[in-house]
Protein backbone atom coordinates (compact mmCIF):
# COMPACT_ATOMS: atom_id res chain seq x y z
CA UNK A 1 0.00 0.00 0.00
CA UNK A 2 1.52 3.32 -0.97
CA UNK A 3 0.04 6.69 -0.25
CA UNK A 4 1.00 10.30 -0.52
CA UNK A 5 -1.36 11.30 2.24
CA UNK A 6 0.28 12.97 5.24
CA UNK A 7 0.48 11.04 8.48
CA UNK A 8 -2.17 11.78 11.06
CA UNK A 9 -1.43 13.86 14.12
CA UNK A 10 -1.95 11.87 17.28
CA UNK A 11 -3.13 13.49 20.47
CA UNK A 12 -2.12 11.78 23.69
CA UNK A 13 -3.97 11.70 27.01
CA UNK A 14 -4.66 9.40 29.97
CA UNK A 15 -7.82 7.34 30.26
CA UNK A 16 -9.01 6.27 33.70
CA UNK A 17 -11.01 3.07 33.67
CA UNK A 18 -11.93 0.76 36.49
CA UNK A 19 -9.32 2.36 38.71
CA UNK A 20 -6.45 2.08 36.24
CA UNK A 21 -4.91 4.90 34.19
CA UNK A 22 -4.00 3.94 30.61
CA UNK A 23 -2.15 6.12 28.16
CA UNK A 24 -4.16 6.71 24.99
CA UNK A 25 -3.19 8.12 21.59
CA UNK A 26 -5.94 9.10 19.19
CA UNK A 27 -6.08 10.06 15.52
CA UNK A 28 -8.23 9.80 12.43
CA UNK A 29 -11.94 9.51 11.76
CA UNK A 30 -14.33 6.78 10.71
CA UNK A 31 -15.10 3.39 12.23
CA UNK A 32 -13.69 3.27 15.76
CA UNK A 33 -10.71 0.97 16.24
CA UNK A 34 -9.27 0.24 19.69
CA UNK A 35 -5.65 -0.92 19.40
CA UNK A 36 -4.11 -2.62 22.43
CA UNK A 37 -0.40 -1.95 22.43
CA UNK A 38 2.07 -4.01 24.43
CA UNK A 39 5.27 -2.59 22.92
CA UNK A 40 5.69 1.01 21.81
CA UNK A 41 8.20 0.18 19.12
CA UNK A 42 7.94 -0.38 15.40
CA UNK A 43 4.21 0.13 14.93
CA UNK A 44 4.07 3.78 13.87
CA UNK A 45 3.75 3.07 10.14
CA UNK A 46 0.88 0.71 10.86
CA UNK A 47 -0.80 3.30 13.09
CA UNK A 48 -0.41 5.98 10.44
CA UNK A 49 -2.03 3.72 7.87
CA UNK A 50 -4.91 2.75 10.12
CA UNK A 51 -5.55 6.38 11.14
CA UNK A 52 -6.02 7.31 7.48
CA UNK A 53 -9.09 5.07 7.37
CA UNK A 54 -10.32 4.68 10.94
CA UNK A 55 -10.82 6.58 14.16
CA UNK A 56 -7.90 4.98 15.96
CA UNK A 57 -7.43 4.81 19.73
CA UNK A 58 -4.16 3.22 20.88
CA UNK A 59 -4.25 2.05 24.48
CA UNK A 60 -0.90 1.29 26.09
CA UNK A 61 -1.16 -1.80 28.25
CA UNK A 62 0.62 -2.07 31.57
CA UNK A 63 3.44 -4.63 31.47
CA UNK A 64 2.88 -8.10 32.90
CA UNK A 65 -0.33 -9.80 33.95
CA UNK A 66 -2.79 -7.23 35.34
CA UNK A 67 -5.70 -8.59 37.29
CA UNK A 68 -8.99 -7.60 35.68
CA UNK A 69 -7.41 -5.96 32.63
CA UNK A 70 -10.28 -7.19 30.45
CA UNK A 71 -12.79 -5.14 32.41
CA UNK A 72 -10.48 -2.13 32.25
CA UNK A 73 -10.27 -2.43 28.47
CA UNK A 74 -14.02 -2.82 28.08
CA UNK A 75 -14.68 0.22 30.17
CA UNK A 76 -12.00 2.32 28.48
CA UNK A 77 -13.17 1.25 25.02
CA UNK A 78 -16.77 2.13 25.83
CA UNK A 79 -15.73 5.56 27.08
CA UNK A 80 -13.67 6.22 23.95
CA UNK A 81 -15.73 4.60 21.22
CA UNK A 82 -19.19 3.91 22.54
CA UNK A 83 -20.94 0.59 22.29
CA UNK A 84 -19.53 -0.70 19.02
CA UNK A 85 -15.88 -0.82 18.06
CA UNK A 86 -13.28 -2.96 16.40
CA UNK A 87 -10.67 -4.41 18.70
CA UNK A 88 -7.08 -4.95 17.60
CA UNK A 89 -4.21 -6.24 19.70
CA UNK A 90 -0.59 -7.02 19.01
CA UNK A 91 1.27 -9.84 20.73
CA UNK A 92 0.45 -9.59 24.46
CA UNK A 93 -2.14 -7.00 23.45
CA UNK A 94 -3.71 -9.64 21.21
CA UNK A 95 -3.98 -12.00 24.16
CA UNK A 96 -5.69 -9.27 26.19
CA UNK A 97 -8.00 -8.47 23.28
CA UNK A 98 -8.97 -12.11 23.05
CA UNK A 99 -9.65 -12.34 26.78
CA UNK A 100 -11.64 -9.11 26.60
CA UNK A 101 -13.90 -10.48 23.90
CA UNK A 102 -14.29 -13.79 25.71
CA UNK A 103 -15.23 -12.05 28.93
CA UNK A 104 -17.84 -10.09 27.07
CA UNK A 105 -19.48 -13.15 25.56
CA UNK A 106 -21.90 -13.43 28.44
CA UNK A 107 -22.92 -9.81 27.95
CA UNK A 108 -23.62 -8.13 24.67
CA UNK A 109 -20.38 -8.37 22.71
CA UNK A 110 -19.13 -4.86 21.99
CA UNK A 111 -16.43 -5.77 19.47
CA UNK A 112 -17.70 -5.77 15.91
CA UNK A 113 -14.52 -7.44 14.79
CA UNK A 114 -11.40 -8.75 16.48
CA UNK A 115 -7.90 -8.60 15.01
CA UNK A 116 -5.12 -10.54 16.72
CA UNK A 117 -1.63 -9.61 15.56
CA UNK A 118 0.89 -12.31 16.46
CA UNK A 119 -1.04 -13.61 19.48
CA UNK A 120 0.99 -15.80 21.83
CA UNK A 121 -1.82 -16.99 24.05
CA UNK A 122 -2.27 -20.30 22.24
CA UNK A 123 0.51 -22.75 21.44
CA UNK A 124 3.37 -20.46 22.46
CA UNK A 125 6.97 -21.53 21.98
CA UNK A 126 9.85 -20.91 24.34
CA UNK A 127 11.98 -19.32 21.65
CA UNK A 128 12.55 -16.05 23.45
CA UNK A 129 13.30 -17.37 26.91
CA UNK A 130 15.64 -19.99 25.46
CA UNK A 131 17.80 -17.41 23.73
CA UNK A 132 20.67 -15.56 25.30
CA UNK A 133 21.16 -11.82 25.28
CA UNK A 134 23.04 -11.76 21.97
CA UNK A 135 20.29 -13.48 20.03
CA UNK A 136 17.21 -11.93 21.55
CA UNK A 137 16.07 -10.06 18.45
CA UNK A 138 16.04 -13.12 16.21
CA UNK A 139 12.54 -14.42 17.07
CA UNK A 140 11.17 -10.87 16.94
CA UNK A 141 12.60 -9.63 13.67
CA UNK A 142 13.50 -11.54 10.53
CA UNK A 143 15.90 -8.75 9.56
CA UNK A 144 17.07 -6.86 12.67
CA UNK A 145 19.76 -5.12 10.65
CA UNK A 146 17.11 -3.19 8.71
CA UNK A 147 15.95 -1.25 11.78
CA UNK A 148 17.93 1.86 12.62
CA UNK A 149 16.14 2.27 15.95
CA UNK A 150 16.89 -1.22 17.25
CA UNK A 151 18.62 0.26 20.28
CA UNK A 152 15.28 1.67 21.44
CA UNK A 153 13.89 -1.83 21.96
CA UNK A 154 13.68 -2.91 25.60
CA UNK A 155 16.25 -5.44 26.79
CA UNK A 156 16.00 -9.20 26.70
CA UNK A 157 14.36 -9.81 30.08
CA UNK A 158 11.79 -7.07 29.63
CA UNK A 159 10.90 -8.36 26.19
CA UNK A 160 10.61 -11.89 27.53
CA UNK A 161 8.03 -10.66 30.02
CA UNK A 162 6.19 -8.65 27.36
CA UNK A 163 6.00 -11.44 24.83
CA UNK A 164 5.45 -14.46 27.01
CA UNK A 165 1.82 -15.42 27.51
CA UNK A 166 0.46 -14.59 30.94
CA UNK A 167 -0.70 -17.11 33.53
CA UNK A 168 -4.29 -16.22 32.76
CA UNK A 169 -3.83 -17.26 29.14
CA UNK A 170 -3.36 -20.96 29.85
CA UNK A 171 -6.98 -21.98 29.31
CA UNK A 172 -7.66 -19.70 26.35
CA UNK A 173 -7.38 -22.43 23.72
CA UNK A 174 -10.36 -24.28 25.14
CA UNK A 175 -12.39 -21.06 25.14
CA UNK A 176 -11.74 -20.11 21.52
CA UNK A 177 -14.99 -21.66 20.22
CA UNK A 178 -16.88 -19.09 22.29
CA UNK A 179 -15.60 -16.11 20.28
CA UNK A 180 -18.55 -14.89 18.24
CA UNK A 181 -17.31 -11.83 16.37
CA UNK A 182 -15.49 -12.04 13.01
CA UNK A 183 -11.83 -12.59 13.86
CA UNK A 184 -8.60 -12.16 11.95
CA UNK A 185 -5.43 -13.76 13.33
CA UNK A 186 -2.24 -12.49 11.71
CA UNK A 187 1.10 -14.29 11.91
CA UNK A 188 4.52 -13.72 10.40
CA UNK A 189 5.74 -16.68 8.38
CA UNK A 190 8.98 -16.56 10.39
CA UNK A 191 7.43 -16.02 13.81
CA UNK A 192 9.20 -18.35 16.22
CA UNK A 193 7.35 -17.20 19.34
CA UNK A 194 4.37 -19.38 18.47
CA UNK A 195 4.36 -22.99 17.38
CA UNK A 196 3.74 -23.96 13.80
CA UNK A 197 0.26 -25.19 14.70
CA UNK A 198 -0.92 -21.92 16.24
CA UNK A 199 -2.48 -20.39 13.07
CA UNK A 200 -4.43 -23.57 12.34
CA UNK A 201 -5.57 -23.74 15.94
CA UNK A 202 -7.15 -20.29 15.77
CA UNK A 203 -8.69 -20.97 12.37
CA UNK A 204 -10.04 -24.33 13.44
CA UNK A 205 -11.35 -23.26 16.84
CA UNK A 206 -12.91 -19.81 16.44
CA UNK A 207 -16.17 -20.11 14.48
CA UNK A 208 -15.67 -17.10 12.20
CA UNK A 209 -11.88 -16.81 12.09
CA UNK A 210 -9.54 -16.06 9.23
CA UNK A 211 -5.79 -16.52 9.39
CA UNK A 212 -3.43 -14.29 7.48
CA UNK A 213 0.23 -15.16 7.01
CA UNK A 214 2.53 -12.22 6.39
CA UNK A 215 5.44 -13.40 4.31
CA UNK A 216 9.03 -12.97 5.44
CA UNK A 217 8.28 -11.46 8.83
CA UNK A 218 8.93 -12.67 12.35
CA UNK A 219 6.94 -11.82 15.48
CA UNK A 220 6.90 -8.06 14.96
CA UNK A 221 5.29 -8.36 11.54
CA UNK A 222 3.85 -4.86 11.64
CA UNK A 223 7.32 -3.41 12.19
CA UNK A 224 8.79 -5.38 9.30
CA UNK A 225 6.11 -5.11 6.63
CA UNK A 226 3.69 -2.44 7.87
CA UNK A 227 2.06 -1.96 4.47
CA UNK A 228 1.18 -5.64 4.22
CA UNK A 229 -0.23 -5.79 7.75
CA UNK A 230 -2.14 -2.51 7.33
CA UNK A 231 -3.61 -3.75 4.06
CA UNK A 232 -5.10 -6.93 5.44
CA UNK A 233 -6.19 -5.37 8.75
CA UNK A 234 -7.88 -2.45 7.02
CA UNK A 235 -9.59 -4.74 4.55
CA UNK A 236 -10.81 -7.00 7.31
CA UNK A 237 -12.17 -4.27 9.56
CA UNK A 238 -13.94 -2.62 6.63
CA UNK A 239 -15.32 -5.75 5.05
CA UNK A 240 -15.25 -8.41 7.80
CA UNK A 241 -15.34 -11.92 6.34
CA UNK A 242 -16.04 -10.57 2.86
CA UNK A 243 -12.44 -9.32 2.74
CA UNK A 244 -11.75 -12.56 0.85
CA UNK A 245 -13.58 -11.13 -2.18
CA UNK A 246 -11.29 -9.24 -4.54
CA UNK A 247 -12.89 -6.01 -5.71
CA UNK A 248 -9.85 -4.59 -7.45
CA UNK A 249 -10.21 -4.25 -11.19
CA UNK A 250 -8.01 -6.44 -13.41
CA UNK A 251 -8.50 -4.23 -16.45
CA UNK A 252 -5.12 -3.08 -17.80
CA UNK A 253 -6.23 -0.84 -20.64
CA UNK A 254 -9.93 -0.27 -21.30
Amino acid sequence: MTTNQPNATFKEYPVNANGLALNCREAGAGLPVIFLESLRWGNQSLYDSLARTFHLFILELPSGDTEGIEQVIREAASMLAGNAYNLVGASLGANVALRTVLKAVLDSEPAESLVLLSPTAVRPSNALTELDQRQWTSPLLAYPERHANLAELPGHSELASIFSPGDSDTDLESLLPQVRCPTLAVFGTRDRLVSREAPSTYRGSIPNCHVSLVYDTAHLASAERPEAVASVVTDFIENRETFVVNRHSSVINP
Partner: protein, 367 residues
Protein backbone atom coordinates in the same frame (compact mmCIF):
# COMPACT_ATOMS: atom_id res chain seq x y z
CA UNK B 1 23.97 -43.67 -7.83
CA UNK B 2 20.61 -43.64 -9.58
CA UNK B 3 19.75 -42.66 -13.13
CA UNK B 4 16.95 -40.34 -14.13
CA UNK B 5 15.55 -39.96 -17.65
CA UNK B 6 14.72 -36.38 -18.63
CA UNK B 7 11.37 -36.65 -20.41
CA UNK B 8 11.95 -33.81 -22.84
CA UNK B 9 9.35 -34.92 -25.39
CA UNK B 10 11.35 -33.14 -28.07
CA UNK B 11 9.66 -32.46 -31.39
CA UNK B 12 11.15 -34.89 -33.89
CA UNK B 13 12.13 -32.21 -36.43
CA UNK B 14 13.78 -29.98 -33.82
CA UNK B 15 17.05 -30.01 -35.75
CA UNK B 16 15.35 -27.86 -38.40
CA UNK B 17 14.44 -25.06 -36.00
CA UNK B 18 15.89 -21.57 -36.56
CA UNK B 19 18.60 -20.37 -34.21
CA UNK B 20 16.77 -17.67 -32.31
CA UNK B 21 14.20 -18.23 -29.59
CA UNK B 22 11.16 -18.22 -29.64
CA UNK B 23 10.52 -20.86 -32.30
CA UNK B 24 7.61 -19.71 -34.48
CA UNK B 25 4.52 -21.94 -34.21
CA UNK B 26 4.59 -22.18 -38.02
CA UNK B 27 7.24 -24.89 -37.60
CA UNK B 28 4.72 -27.09 -35.81
CA UNK B 29 3.14 -29.99 -37.69
CA UNK B 30 0.40 -31.55 -35.52
CA UNK B 31 0.99 -35.00 -36.97
CA UNK B 32 4.69 -34.96 -36.12
CA UNK B 33 3.95 -33.42 -32.74
CA UNK B 34 1.52 -36.15 -31.71
CA UNK B 35 4.05 -38.75 -32.80
CA UNK B 36 6.82 -36.98 -30.87
CA UNK B 37 4.90 -37.06 -27.60
CA UNK B 38 4.07 -40.74 -28.12
CA UNK B 39 7.72 -41.52 -28.78
CA UNK B 40 8.80 -39.46 -25.79
CA UNK B 41 6.51 -41.42 -23.51
CA UNK B 42 7.78 -44.70 -25.00
CA UNK B 43 11.29 -43.57 -24.11
CA UNK B 44 10.20 -42.99 -20.51
CA UNK B 45 8.64 -46.46 -20.34
CA UNK B 46 11.73 -48.04 -21.81
CA UNK B 47 14.00 -46.14 -19.44
CA UNK B 48 12.01 -47.54 -16.54
CA UNK B 49 12.34 -51.02 -18.01
CA UNK B 50 16.09 -50.52 -18.35
CA UNK B 51 16.48 -49.63 -14.68
CA UNK B 52 16.19 -45.84 -14.51
CA UNK B 53 14.62 -45.00 -11.16
CA UNK B 54 13.44 -41.45 -11.89
CA UNK B 55 11.84 -39.71 -14.85
CA UNK B 56 12.13 -35.95 -14.73
CA UNK B 57 10.21 -33.11 -16.33
CA UNK B 58 11.23 -29.56 -16.94
CA UNK B 59 9.22 -26.46 -17.84
CA UNK B 60 10.32 -24.75 -21.03
CA UNK B 61 8.39 -22.52 -23.37
CA UNK B 62 7.97 -21.50 -26.97
CA UNK B 63 10.17 -24.21 -28.44
CA UNK B 64 9.86 -27.87 -29.31
CA UNK B 65 13.30 -28.87 -28.07
CA UNK B 66 11.89 -29.57 -24.63
CA UNK B 67 8.20 -29.58 -25.40
CA UNK B 68 6.81 -29.55 -21.88
CA UNK B 69 5.49 -26.07 -21.22
CA UNK B 70 3.37 -27.56 -18.45
CA UNK B 71 5.47 -30.33 -16.89
CA UNK B 72 2.60 -31.39 -14.62
CA UNK B 73 0.49 -32.35 -17.62
CA UNK B 74 3.36 -34.45 -18.97
CA UNK B 75 4.10 -36.05 -15.61
CA UNK B 76 0.46 -37.02 -15.20
CA UNK B 77 0.47 -38.77 -18.57
CA UNK B 78 3.73 -40.59 -17.85
CA UNK B 79 2.55 -41.53 -14.35
CA UNK B 80 -0.08 -43.73 -15.97
CA UNK B 81 2.49 -45.48 -18.15
CA UNK B 82 5.35 -45.82 -15.70
CA UNK B 83 4.26 -47.37 -12.43
CA UNK B 84 7.56 -47.58 -10.55
CA UNK B 85 9.73 -44.55 -11.30
CA UNK B 86 9.80 -41.41 -9.22
CA UNK B 87 8.30 -38.42 -11.02
CA UNK B 88 10.79 -35.61 -10.57
CA UNK B 89 9.40 -32.16 -11.37
CA UNK B 90 12.67 -30.38 -12.11
CA UNK B 91 10.71 -28.38 -12.47
CA UNK B 92 8.11 -25.68 -12.61
CA UNK B 93 9.42 -22.15 -13.14
CA UNK B 94 7.97 -20.41 -10.12
CA UNK B 95 8.26 -16.76 -11.16
CA UNK B 96 6.17 -17.56 -14.22
CA UNK B 97 3.41 -19.33 -12.37
CA UNK B 98 0.78 -18.94 -9.73
CA UNK B 99 2.40 -20.74 -6.76
CA UNK B 100 -0.96 -21.90 -5.43
CA UNK B 101 -1.67 -23.54 -8.77
CA UNK B 102 1.73 -25.24 -8.62
CA UNK B 103 0.96 -26.47 -5.09
CA UNK B 104 -2.32 -27.92 -6.33
CA UNK B 105 -0.58 -29.65 -9.22
CA UNK B 106 2.02 -31.09 -6.87
CA UNK B 107 -0.70 -32.36 -4.57
CA UNK B 108 -2.52 -34.00 -7.47
CA UNK B 109 0.62 -35.59 -8.91
CA UNK B 110 1.63 -37.07 -5.58
CA UNK B 111 -1.85 -38.54 -5.24
CA UNK B 112 -2.29 -39.96 -8.73
CA UNK B 113 1.22 -41.46 -8.55
CA UNK B 114 0.64 -42.77 -5.02
CA UNK B 115 3.50 -40.87 -3.48
CA UNK B 116 6.12 -40.93 -6.25
CA UNK B 117 6.51 -37.18 -6.63
CA UNK B 118 9.74 -35.28 -6.18
CA UNK B 119 9.26 -31.52 -6.18
CA UNK B 120 11.78 -29.20 -7.73
CA UNK B 121 11.72 -25.43 -8.09
CA UNK B 122 13.49 -23.25 -10.62
CA UNK B 123 13.70 -19.65 -11.64
CA UNK B 124 14.06 -20.42 -15.36
CA UNK B 125 16.48 -19.54 -18.11
CA UNK B 126 16.77 -15.83 -19.01
CA UNK B 127 14.56 -16.08 -22.08
CA UNK B 128 11.66 -17.45 -20.11
CA UNK B 129 11.02 -14.30 -18.09
CA UNK B 130 9.50 -12.97 -21.31
CA UNK B 131 6.94 -15.77 -21.59
CA UNK B 132 4.52 -14.39 -19.02
CA UNK B 133 6.04 -10.94 -18.72
CA UNK B 134 8.10 -11.34 -15.54
CA UNK B 135 10.51 -8.53 -14.71
CA UNK B 136 13.93 -10.26 -14.78
CA UNK B 137 15.10 -8.23 -11.80
CA UNK B 138 12.32 -9.69 -9.62
CA UNK B 139 12.54 -13.36 -10.57
CA UNK B 140 14.83 -14.41 -7.74
CA UNK B 141 12.66 -12.88 -5.00
CA UNK B 142 9.54 -14.32 -6.62
CA UNK B 143 11.18 -17.75 -6.59
CA UNK B 144 11.90 -17.55 -2.85
CA UNK B 145 8.44 -16.29 -1.96
CA UNK B 146 6.82 -18.83 -4.27
CA UNK B 147 8.66 -21.70 -2.60
CA UNK B 148 7.65 -20.55 0.87
CA UNK B 149 4.04 -20.21 -0.22
CA UNK B 150 3.95 -23.65 -1.86
CA UNK B 151 5.47 -25.35 1.15
CA UNK B 152 3.00 -23.56 3.44
CA UNK B 153 0.07 -24.34 1.15
CA UNK B 154 0.92 -28.05 1.17
CA UNK B 155 1.33 -28.30 4.93
CA UNK B 156 -1.18 -25.93 6.58
CA UNK B 157 -4.21 -27.76 7.88
CA UNK B 158 -6.60 -24.81 7.76
CA UNK B 159 -7.36 -22.17 5.13
CA UNK B 160 -5.21 -19.06 5.29
CA UNK B 161 -4.56 -15.84 3.47
CA UNK B 162 -1.12 -14.82 2.21
CA UNK B 163 0.22 -11.29 2.34
CA UNK B 164 3.33 -11.46 0.24
CA UNK B 165 5.54 -9.07 -1.64
CA UNK B 166 4.64 -10.56 -4.99
CA UNK B 167 1.67 -12.78 -4.18
CA UNK B 168 -1.52 -11.96 -2.36
CA UNK B 169 -4.19 -14.58 -1.84
CA UNK B 170 -7.04 -14.17 0.60
CA UNK B 171 -8.06 -17.83 0.59
CA UNK B 172 -5.58 -20.69 0.25
CA UNK B 173 -6.75 -24.19 1.08
CA UNK B 174 -4.98 -26.65 -1.19
CA UNK B 175 -6.60 -29.97 -1.95
CA UNK B 176 -5.45 -32.72 -2.20
CA UNK B 177 -2.69 -32.81 0.35
CA UNK B 178 0.40 -34.77 -0.68
CA UNK B 179 0.53 -38.49 0.02
CA UNK B 180 4.09 -38.08 1.26
CA UNK B 181 3.87 -36.26 4.60
CA UNK B 182 4.61 -33.64 5.55
CA UNK B 183 6.02 -32.85 2.10
CA UNK B 184 7.32 -34.79 -0.89
CA UNK B 185 11.10 -34.61 -1.24
CA UNK B 186 12.03 -31.18 -2.57
CA UNK B 187 14.97 -30.10 -4.69
CA UNK B 188 16.13 -26.62 -5.49
CA UNK B 189 17.81 -26.33 -8.85
CA UNK B 190 20.43 -23.64 -8.51
CA UNK B 191 24.04 -22.57 -8.44
CA UNK B 192 23.84 -19.25 -6.61
CA UNK B 193 24.88 -18.93 -2.97
CA UNK B 194 21.61 -17.56 -1.62
CA UNK B 195 19.58 -20.31 -3.27
CA UNK B 196 21.98 -23.03 -2.15
CA UNK B 197 21.74 -21.69 1.40
CA UNK B 198 17.94 -21.62 1.17
CA UNK B 199 17.98 -25.27 0.12
CA UNK B 200 20.24 -26.17 3.03
CA UNK B 201 18.21 -24.21 5.58
CA UNK B 202 14.94 -25.72 4.42
CA UNK B 203 15.97 -29.36 4.19
CA UNK B 204 15.84 -29.36 0.42
CA UNK B 205 18.00 -31.23 -2.05
CA UNK B 206 20.36 -29.58 -4.50
CA UNK B 207 19.98 -29.78 -8.27
CA UNK B 208 22.74 -28.55 -10.56
CA UNK B 209 22.69 -28.63 -14.33
CA UNK B 210 25.12 -28.99 -17.21
CA UNK B 211 28.29 -27.59 -15.58
CA UNK B 212 31.66 -29.35 -15.41
CA UNK B 213 32.47 -31.27 -12.28
CA UNK B 214 35.15 -28.82 -11.20
CA UNK B 215 32.60 -25.97 -11.19
CA UNK B 216 29.99 -28.02 -9.35
CA UNK B 217 32.43 -29.16 -6.67
CA UNK B 218 32.62 -25.87 -4.70
CA UNK B 219 28.85 -25.43 -4.98
CA UNK B 220 28.27 -28.87 -3.52
CA UNK B 221 30.84 -28.21 -0.83
CA UNK B 222 29.01 -25.07 0.30
CA UNK B 223 25.72 -26.96 0.27
CA UNK B 224 27.04 -29.77 2.45
CA UNK B 225 28.66 -27.30 4.84
CA UNK B 226 25.49 -25.25 5.23
CA UNK B 227 23.39 -28.40 5.71
CA UNK B 228 25.84 -29.43 8.41
CA UNK B 229 25.57 -25.98 10.04
CA UNK B 230 21.82 -26.31 10.40
CA UNK B 231 22.10 -29.88 11.62
CA UNK B 232 21.29 -32.33 8.87
CA UNK B 233 23.01 -34.42 6.22
CA UNK B 234 21.59 -34.79 2.70
CA UNK B 235 21.00 -38.31 1.43
CA UNK B 236 22.43 -39.33 -1.98
CA UNK B 237 18.99 -38.79 -3.54
CA UNK B 238 19.19 -35.13 -2.55
CA UNK B 239 22.08 -34.23 -4.81
CA UNK B 240 21.05 -34.31 -8.45
CA UNK B 241 23.05 -33.46 -11.53
CA UNK B 242 21.41 -32.92 -14.91
CA UNK B 243 23.68 -33.42 -17.88
CA UNK B 244 23.74 -33.92 -21.62
CA UNK B 245 24.72 -37.40 -22.73
CA UNK B 246 25.63 -39.24 -25.90
CA UNK B 247 26.57 -42.86 -25.40
CA UNK B 248 27.89 -45.23 -28.05
CA UNK B 249 29.50 -48.67 -28.13
CA UNK B 250 32.97 -47.12 -28.26
CA UNK B 251 34.57 -43.77 -27.56
CA UNK B 252 35.47 -43.50 -31.21
CA UNK B 253 31.88 -44.04 -32.31
CA UNK B 254 30.76 -41.28 -29.93
CA UNK B 255 33.37 -38.91 -31.30
CA UNK B 256 32.33 -39.78 -34.85
CA UNK B 257 28.76 -38.79 -34.02
CA UNK B 258 29.91 -35.54 -32.47
CA UNK B 259 31.75 -34.65 -35.66
CA UNK B 260 28.54 -34.98 -37.64
CA UNK B 261 27.18 -31.93 -35.78
CA UNK B 262 27.73 -28.49 -37.30
CA UNK B 263 31.07 -27.27 -35.97
CA UNK B 264 31.60 -30.58 -34.20
CA UNK B 265 29.73 -29.49 -31.08
CA UNK B 266 26.29 -28.89 -29.64
CA UNK B 267 25.01 -25.50 -30.65
CA UNK B 268 23.33 -23.29 -28.05
CA UNK B 269 19.85 -24.58 -27.37
CA UNK B 270 18.43 -21.15 -26.62
CA UNK B 271 19.68 -18.15 -28.54
CA UNK B 272 18.40 -14.64 -28.06
CA UNK B 273 18.88 -11.43 -29.96
CA UNK B 274 22.06 -9.95 -28.46
CA UNK B 275 20.38 -6.75 -27.25
CA UNK B 276 17.61 -8.67 -25.48
CA UNK B 277 20.09 -11.06 -23.89
CA UNK B 278 22.20 -8.20 -22.55
CA UNK B 279 19.26 -6.32 -21.11
CA UNK B 280 17.91 -9.46 -19.43
CA UNK B 281 21.31 -10.25 -17.99
CA UNK B 282 21.76 -6.71 -16.67
CA UNK B 283 18.30 -6.73 -15.11
CA UNK B 284 18.87 -10.13 -13.51
CA UNK B 285 22.12 -9.03 -11.95
CA UNK B 286 20.81 -5.62 -10.91
CA UNK B 287 23.28 -3.70 -13.08
CA UNK B 288 22.68 -0.38 -14.74
CA UNK B 289 22.66 -0.55 -18.51
CA UNK B 290 22.71 1.88 -21.41
CA UNK B 291 19.92 0.67 -23.67
CA UNK B 292 20.83 2.85 -26.66
CA UNK B 293 24.42 1.67 -26.59
CA UNK B 294 23.29 -1.95 -26.39
CA UNK B 295 20.89 -1.50 -29.30
CA UNK B 296 23.54 0.22 -31.39
CA UNK B 297 25.88 -2.69 -30.84
CA UNK B 298 23.37 -5.32 -31.83
CA UNK B 299 22.56 -5.42 -35.53
CA UNK B 300 19.49 -7.25 -36.76
CA UNK B 301 19.96 -11.00 -36.71
CA UNK B 302 22.78 -10.93 -34.18
CA UNK B 303 21.93 -13.73 -31.77
CA UNK B 304 23.85 -15.06 -28.82
CA UNK B 305 23.64 -18.13 -26.64
CA UNK B 306 25.81 -20.47 -24.73
CA UNK B 307 26.33 -24.10 -25.70
CA UNK B 308 25.79 -26.29 -22.69
CA UNK B 309 28.17 -28.88 -24.06
CA UNK B 310 28.08 -32.63 -23.65
CA UNK B 311 28.76 -33.64 -20.08
CA UNK B 312 28.94 -37.33 -20.88
CA UNK B 313 30.27 -38.53 -24.24
CA UNK B 314 31.70 -41.92 -25.04
CA UNK B 315 31.47 -45.59 -24.31
CA UNK B 316 29.60 -46.97 -21.30
CA UNK B 317 32.86 -47.35 -19.39
CA UNK B 318 33.97 -43.81 -20.15
CA UNK B 319 30.60 -42.39 -19.16
CA UNK B 320 30.43 -44.41 -15.94
CA UNK B 321 33.91 -43.21 -15.06
CA UNK B 322 32.93 -39.56 -15.64
CA UNK B 323 29.80 -39.98 -13.54
CA UNK B 324 31.90 -41.43 -10.74
CA UNK B 325 33.78 -38.14 -10.66
CA UNK B 326 30.52 -36.27 -9.99
CA UNK B 327 29.70 -38.79 -7.30
CA UNK B 328 33.07 -38.71 -5.61
CA UNK B 329 33.77 -34.98 -5.86
CA UNK B 330 30.24 -33.54 -5.52
CA UNK B 331 28.23 -36.23 -3.75
CA UNK B 332 25.86 -36.63 -6.70
CA UNK B 333 23.45 -39.47 -6.07
CA UNK B 334 21.06 -39.03 -8.98
CA UNK B 335 22.17 -38.46 -12.55
CA UNK B 336 19.39 -36.84 -14.61
CA UNK B 337 20.20 -37.40 -18.27
CA UNK B 338 19.16 -35.59 -21.42
CA UNK B 339 19.41 -38.07 -24.29
CA UNK B 340 17.46 -36.29 -27.03
CA UNK B 341 20.43 -34.66 -28.70
CA UNK B 342 19.94 -32.79 -31.99
CA UNK B 343 19.40 -34.90 -35.05
CA UNK B 344 18.88 -38.14 -33.20
CA UNK B 345 15.85 -40.19 -34.16
CA UNK B 346 13.55 -41.85 -31.67
CA UNK B 347 15.08 -45.19 -32.62
CA UNK B 348 18.59 -43.93 -31.92
CA UNK B 349 17.56 -42.56 -28.53
CA UNK B 350 16.00 -45.94 -27.67
CA UNK B 351 19.26 -47.67 -28.62
CA UNK B 352 21.15 -45.31 -26.33
CA UNK B 353 18.78 -45.93 -23.45
CA UNK B 354 19.28 -49.66 -23.91
CA UNK B 355 23.06 -49.36 -24.10
CA UNK B 356 23.18 -47.12 -21.04
CA UNK B 357 20.81 -49.41 -19.13
CA UNK B 358 22.75 -52.56 -19.91
CA UNK B 359 26.34 -51.35 -19.82
CA UNK B 360 26.65 -48.13 -17.81
CA UNK B 361 23.81 -48.25 -15.29
CA UNK B 362 25.02 -51.43 -13.54
CA UNK B 363 28.34 -49.67 -13.01
CA UNK B 364 26.97 -46.41 -11.61
CA UNK B 365 24.58 -48.25 -9.30
CA UNK B 366 27.66 -49.47 -7.49
CA UNK B 367 28.73 -45.92 -6.52
Amino acid sequence: MKASYLGAMGYSERHLFPEAWPIPPAYHDPRLSVQSYQEGMEECEFAEEMGFEWVSFSEHHYSGRIATSNPAVMAAAVAERCKKVKLAMLGPLLPLNNPVRIAEEMGMLDNISDGRLIMGFLRGTPNEDQVYGVNPSEGREMLFEGMDLIRKALTEEQPFSWEGRYYNFRTVSVWPRPVQQPLPPSIMATRSDDSVRYAAENGMGLGVSFIPVEIMEPIAEKYFNWCNEVGWQPTPDQVVFRGNIYIAETDQAAQDWLHTLPGGQLRPAIQLQRSVAQVVQAARSGEEFDLRRILAGSPQGDVVGRSLGLNFLGSPDTIASKMKEYHDRCGVGVMDLFFQQPGLTHGEVMQEIELFGKEALPQIKEF
